[in-house]
């Protein structure tokens, strides 16, 4: 408006130097170009997501059409006979992710409590970054460590002990020869999920108003009573959101699990036996997948992973938004 008014005054027009007029039109072009570029980039992000869904579902369509929902419950995976069932892998995915979360959530919350309420400033500024460093270790290195360092230790030391103490539980069956096992994969996944939960929870705990915790202390609560009565209840939704983010990470991790779980073909109750997960089954067949139906079956697995992964992510965000907590992307 103002611009147009200025342009309508002849004297002003004459006075405007050539470079000034040029700068104004350059401004207008620059604005339009920048805005267009930004819109294109934003559209690209949305289109990319749509393309991933479209392409993955499209490539899976022949397997979906042939095997239908029975794919989810059929146990055999025999590429040579064109027999594909995901039951073993899906069972493994659920078991490993839940077990990893079962360890990582209490441990991560405890670390977050240590970092936000217990540790003195200097300790906090050292331990905090170290815990986040865990998240920076590439999954392939963690898996490599799991199969070469952790695997020999488990059957020799950990499994006999667990079997001896908790042997009445079927998940802690007789120790096995090989160290590649569901337990190994669970431990590696725990290491990967732990820093996510610890760092988000720590940020959450730091947002608890000081008056509340101080008030509880002034009423005579012990430190733990403050945590249980004030800190945890006021951040519970955020912790659940963080757990869902961790769950999404654990469900979708292919490489480290493929390295450590031992590519088992059967469902076993024991954590010491080998197993498989959907993501790692895909990763294990990266070079052998030449048959069209096999490739399509792998894409079917990817569709399942994509759905669970996106649902876990959406759930985390819905919880976070509903309770107005900020769950940053874990870096």
């Amino acid at each position: 408006m103002l611009e147009r008014a200025v342009q309508q005054v002849p004297a002003r027009r004459v006075a405007a130097s050539r470079s000034g007029a040029f700068a104004r039109s350059a401004d207008r072009i620059g604005d339009a170009v920048l805005q267009a570029l930004c819109v294109i980039a934003a559209l690209l992000a949305i289109l990319l997501l749509a393309a991933i869904v479209y392409e993955v579902v499209g490539s899976a369509s022949s397997a979906i059409g042939r095997y239908g929902l029975g794919f989810l419950f059929h146990r055999a995976w025999k590429p040579n006979f064109e027999v594909f069932g995901a039951a073993v892998a899906l069972f493994g995915t659920v078991v490993t992710s839940l077990a990893a979360l079962l360890i990582a959530v209490p441990l991560g919350v405890a670390i977050a409590l240590f970092l936000s309420t217990l540790a003195p400033g200097r300790v906090r500024s050292v331990i905090g970054p170290l815990v986040e460093m865990l998240a920076a270790i590439p999954s392939v290195i963690l898996g490599f460590w799991g199969i070469l360092v952790l695997a020999p230790l488990l059957p020799a030391h950990v499994e006999p002990f667990l079997h001896g103490v908790f042997g009445f539980l079927p998940i802690f069956g007789a120790p096995e020869q090989s160290g590649a096992s569901v337990l190994n994969a669970v431990l590696i996944l725990t290491i990967m999920v732990l820093p996510i939960i610890a760092s988000i929870s720590r940020d959450l705990f730091l947002t608890v108003p000081r008056e509340l915790t101080d008030g509880a202390r002034a009423l005579g609560s012990t430190r733990w009573e403050v945590v249980r009565g004030v800190v945890l209840p006021s951040t519970a939704s955020g912790i659940i959101a963080a757990s869902f983010l961790g769950l999404g990470r654990a469900l979708g991790e292919a490489i480290a699990v493929a390295q450590t779980i031992g590519a088992g073909k059967a469902i076993s109750a024991s954590f010491f036996a080998t197993g498989n997960t959907a993501a790692s089954l895909i990763a294990q067949q990266y070079f052998g997948a030449t048959d069209r139906m096999q490739v399509s079956a792998l894409f079917y697995l990817a569709v399942i992973l994509l759905v669970i992964g996106l649902v876990a992510n959406l759930a985390a965000q819905a919880i976070a938004r509903r309770f107005d907590v900020h769950v940053a992307l874990a870096r």
């Binding site: 930004c38 980039a41 991933i52 993955v56 920076a136």
Partner: protein, 332 residues
Amino acid sequence: MSSTPPAPADVPVDGVLAPPEEQAPLEREDPLAPLTEYRLDPARPLRASGHLRRRQLVSRTMDALQSASALIAVSVLAFVVYSVVSHGASILSISFLTKGPPLIETEPGGGIAPMIVGTATLVAIAAAISAPIGILAALYMTEFAGRRSARLVRLALDLLYGVPTIVTGLFIFALLVAGKSQMGFAGAVGLAIIMLPLIARATQEALVLVPRDLRQAVEALGVGRWRAVRGVVLPSALGGILTATVLSIARAAGETAPLLFASSVFSNGVSMNIFGEATPNLTVYIYKASEGANRFGWARAWGAALALLGFILVVNIAIRAFDARRRARLLG
């Protein structure tokens, strides 16, 4: 004013105060009578006893468990890093970093130079693709979009972040590799897809932090928006954007799954033909070694792991130091 002792029943009385049976009963016949029966025994030691003692014990136990958890996390990190360093250091040398692996994988010696060059190439291409798109998308969210469209883009980016990396790998396979041969470029695109949400969201956070009065001052000058963005908004968010980009580069360098179907069948030499053949890279090399049972391959993979982990940890530590200084300056 006669001094009135505190009402005995309302506050939790343990330890310091007299034991319950010695205290005044709750219901008294004359409520106005002074509470003389309530006595504080000055001779009792100031040590918690009974109920309070149990509560304190629980609290201390929980404190100890929290410290132990932190200790566990740090020792796991130390264990992993120690393993990688101790195994990797024995093979790491100048020739290891400058030579290719032996022609036959089961032989000793050789190095990982083609993989280092390849990973650097792939990550550089991925950054060149994802950084401009990510930064522009972030600019769209903070500078141009309305509330609704900004939220939509943010949702798409968060969902992209939630796509399992192996699914990204399969997507790239279907899009660029299936029916053709593997190529390094496809792997780089896969890495770019992983970097995009990281860069965009972190850049957005940095853009939001640009001081409001700075923006208003620019607007008052009446210059075009792109000038404002180029002259003020981007420079003052530059630190945050650089941090985000470098961190996502470190993250992409360690990714395996997007490369598995796009750039995994590679030869042992340096390859710059990113559109024609698979580019050797560190992560897939380590993955293949862990699938095999060959101790010389393992030794080289430990060396590769040390090189990769060293790069990633150094970048992370450096960025952290840089970021802390930047934030301190930003917040005054």
